[in-house]
Symmetry: C2
Subunit: 494 residues, 2 copies
């Protein structure tokens, strides 16, 4: 590869060490759609806007990513007061502007840290006190017993997922079963770690339900090719599909995993984001209630995050991973892997503590508790309202059909793009759904992600949209703009 | 591998998916000494102490890791006030207990964020405003021009190092030159990514200086074996060795890298930790002043961190990486790699802004500025005093010699362990320096790390100790305890 010197006085060559031929192929091949072509184009437009270039809209609306506070959701006051108090470490000053309950809670954390130092590295797995809060949370939620040495505090759920996949993948022979459509961190990391994606399709015609024939088909197809299926990912509630699995569904997943002796990865970051009359059941709980031999055997890693749920504290990068039925050797390898990055950030760790051990009637004043509840309820109501609004609005657009958004923060509607539009896209070297999303971005400033980034059955087109604009009227306006654009497209390409 | 079920009613086998035979060998092989055997033993002792077991000391002293606030260093008030204000996002309330300057600075950051949301994900590379603060910092420090699109805000320096090594290593044929002794994140990650360590030895007899004959020897030995040397790591000031490189040293490193067309990794996290009459010179600056063709050609990644310097904010996990002479393709691959973890934590990012763009006489009130300066100076004086104290004290112990600690936060003394002690260690299956450090831990509660974790010339033994106990008398006491233990060892094994 020729160096950049050619533009200078003498043209000579210098071989850049990092180039197309030397960067590992798995990195070149991996794709991460939610931060891919759409995000890139939007970033360019953003800079052009800052430089005074005019667009037919006055701002870019990020409906491409689950980032609630970016769209106006406010943080929970109690949590922020605790975190700020931890940073200040001056009880007297903190009491002047924060509730005593928040200051007391900060004191609970600080007094447990060596030299009260929130600015120190913790142990690699996290602050022990908070690992124990996570332990209690899971025990209470699922009626199980948790080994605190198998709890890891992470920078968001992403870090835990990364660590687990790295441990599970040796090479292309190792396959990981992922739902299609899926959250693209899985496909990106499996490709980056040079493993093989083993897709199992969710059934769009049954509300993105899981089919157990499909699991068997997927597994058989992979093993027929000589792939060693190591693990299966379950995202519940689903991302990007929003469906909520029943305990029966989970039982069958567990039986499948047990039968094949594969490791289960349970992505449960949307466990509080359920908008229909269904209850969240963790894989851990389903295992417990299914009992022996499943609960003694099936290896499981469950992920949770501060970024989702009702608090939406994406920027704090807090999360946890809990391992179950992992043997000591594997746990020691996980510990070692985690240790290289020293520890996850302490503010995020304390955030996790606040998420899993929230203030209750009995632990804080009525005033503090009421405010906490009101804030959470308001956020939940907004999410639920907009989840319904999306389904309703999208289904009223010609050419679009959308399953009910039962949970999570997304809809994944199907759009039946006319053949002539698809032909045009292919001529431009674009997948039709990418072209559709790029054009919506150009014309409306709305960022949505093409279905190809998540995976979809061949010949079908989708996009992912979040329910996160923190205003009913703005959400309505955004959906109307997508509707207008689509109607025009349909009439032009009829 | 047999499941854990054998302890239960029926003994049957279940193959755990994750076990010694299936976990990738590179992970099993990788070692990370600063969180290895010593940390593990200390953690056990800590829990025993909590359970009431008596030891001949009342606490464990962590001199094993650069974690200043864990040992009593206090954070800089201005920084914490800004960070807390960002979390609170209530200017009026913040003004009641924080300096106006801190609140204004928080306002500067918040007003730049969409919806003022410190709780939102930023762009993958970081908050643009802070990336620009980093750009200005480097430009001012080095007299260069920085492309802000090649600045990455990271969770500590570790994340940047991880991302770069991943990009540089395909397989065992790819070699990375690392100093010996080195900071073990390099050896751990090179092993984990299945690359090859290419050691170049620092010269202990010349104050851990760099020898350019040694660089050539190291490179030749690797290429003779068919290794493709891709990159070279420079740690300046040195970790664990504390030496400060001169600009001339760096010039020769640069010429070497240019000659071999290899990528330079400059670990400069201790750039403010210099206790002798030498000035820090970055590789970027040396490149610039060396001029063409070097400054046009040599690919460079420089790392800096919030964890070290004078602020020691390890727990915030903030850092940055700047790339120079990287081509657009490689930068796009880096961007993609970084994007999977979404973004580094926002509080850490703002911390980086505060580090690179500190308050000045002209931007804040005299009172705020004076306090800031006083706090920094006090920290610096303590670090310097203890760096000197360590050299002096250790050199007075029979059997130990220690080079002057010019910079960073560590000494790396050599200990001449008697043959009979070494024999004993080998009988126990331990390296002699590990045995020495384990025994010091058992007898005194002091954690230091054996030299074998950092690399040392065969037949020599060292340990790494930090200068971070935030009290002169405690630091003295700790050194005295090490002295007493060593003297006894020497007399027993004479």
């Amino acid at each position: 590869m020729i160096g950049r010197i050619c533009s200078k006085r003498f043209c000579r060559t210098y071989n850049h060490s990092l180039n197309k031929d030397t960067i590992p192929l798995p990195i070149i091949r991996s794709e991460y759609a939610v931060r891919g072509a759409i995000a890139e184009k939007a970033m360019k437009m953003q800079r052009q806007m800052e430089d005074g270039v005019k667009f037919p809209f006055d701002k870019i609306t990020q409906l491409n990513i689950g980032n609630p506070q970016n769209l106006g959701q406010k943080p929970i006051s109690f949590n922020r007061e605790v975190l700020a108090s931890c940073l200040i470490d001056d009880t007297e000053r903190s009491r002047k502007i924060f509730s005593s309950d928040a200051v007391d809670r900060a004191e609970y954390y600080l007094s447990n840290l060596t030299n009260r130092a929130a600015g120190a590295y913790s142990d690699s797995t996290g602050i022990r006190l908070i690992m124990r809060e996570v332990k209690s949370f899971i025990e209470k939620r699922d009626g199980v017993e948790v080994n605190e040495d198998q709890v890891y505090l992470t920078n968001g759920a992403s870090e835990g997922i990364t660590l687990m996949l790295k441990l599970l993948i040796n090479d292309l022979n190792d396959g990981i079963m992922i739902p299609i459509p899926q959250y693209p961190i899985y496909s990106a990391l499996i490709t980056r770690f040079n493993g093989t994606q083993v897709p199992y399709y969710l059934d769009e015609s049954k509300g993105w339900g899981m089919s157990f024939e499909e699991l068997e088909r997927s597994y058989a197809e992979a093993t027929d090719k000589g792939i060693n299926v190591r693990s299966m990912v379950v995202i519940n509630p689903g991302n990007p599909t929003g469906q909520v699995l029943t305990q029966e569904d989970l039982n069958r997943v567990i039986q499948f995993a047990h039968d094949k002796q594969i490791f289960l990865l349970a992505d449960e970051v949307y466990q509080r984001n359920i908008y229909v009359d269904k209850e969240f059941c963790s894989v851990r709980k389903a295992l417990k209630e299914l009992g022996s031999p499943y609960d003694d055997d099936v290896e499981l890693a469950s992920f949770h995050s501060l970024s989702k749920g009702l608090h939406g504290e994406c920027g704090l990068r807090g999360g946890f991973m809990e391992l179950h039925n992992i043997n000591d050797f594997a746990n020691a390898m996980m510990y070692k892997s985690k240790a290289v990055a020293l520890c996850s950030n302490i503010i995020g760790q304390i955030g996790v503590g606040l998420m899993v051990n929230p203030p209750t009637k009995d632990t804080v004043s009525k005033e503090v508790f009421d405010l906490y509840q009101t804030q959470e309820q308001e956020i939940f109501n907004g999410l639920k309202y907009r989840a319904n609004l999306i389904t309703e609005k999208l289904n009223s657009i010609e050419g679009i059909t959308c399953n009910e958004v039962e949970g999570a923060m997304y809809a994944f509607p199907q759009i039946r793009l006319p053949q002539s539009y698809c032909d045009l896209a292919h001529q431009e070297g674009l997948s039709p759904d990418l072209k559709y999303c790029l054009e919506i971005l150009s014309k409306t400033g709305i960022m949505i992600v093409p279905g190809s980034g998540f995976g979809q059955e061949e010949g079908t087109y989708h996009f992912r949209i979040t329910n996160l604009v923190n205003s009913k009227s703005e959400m309505t306006k955004a959906l109307d703009k997508i509707g207008d654009f689509t109607s025009e497209l349909m009439s032009v390409h009829k």
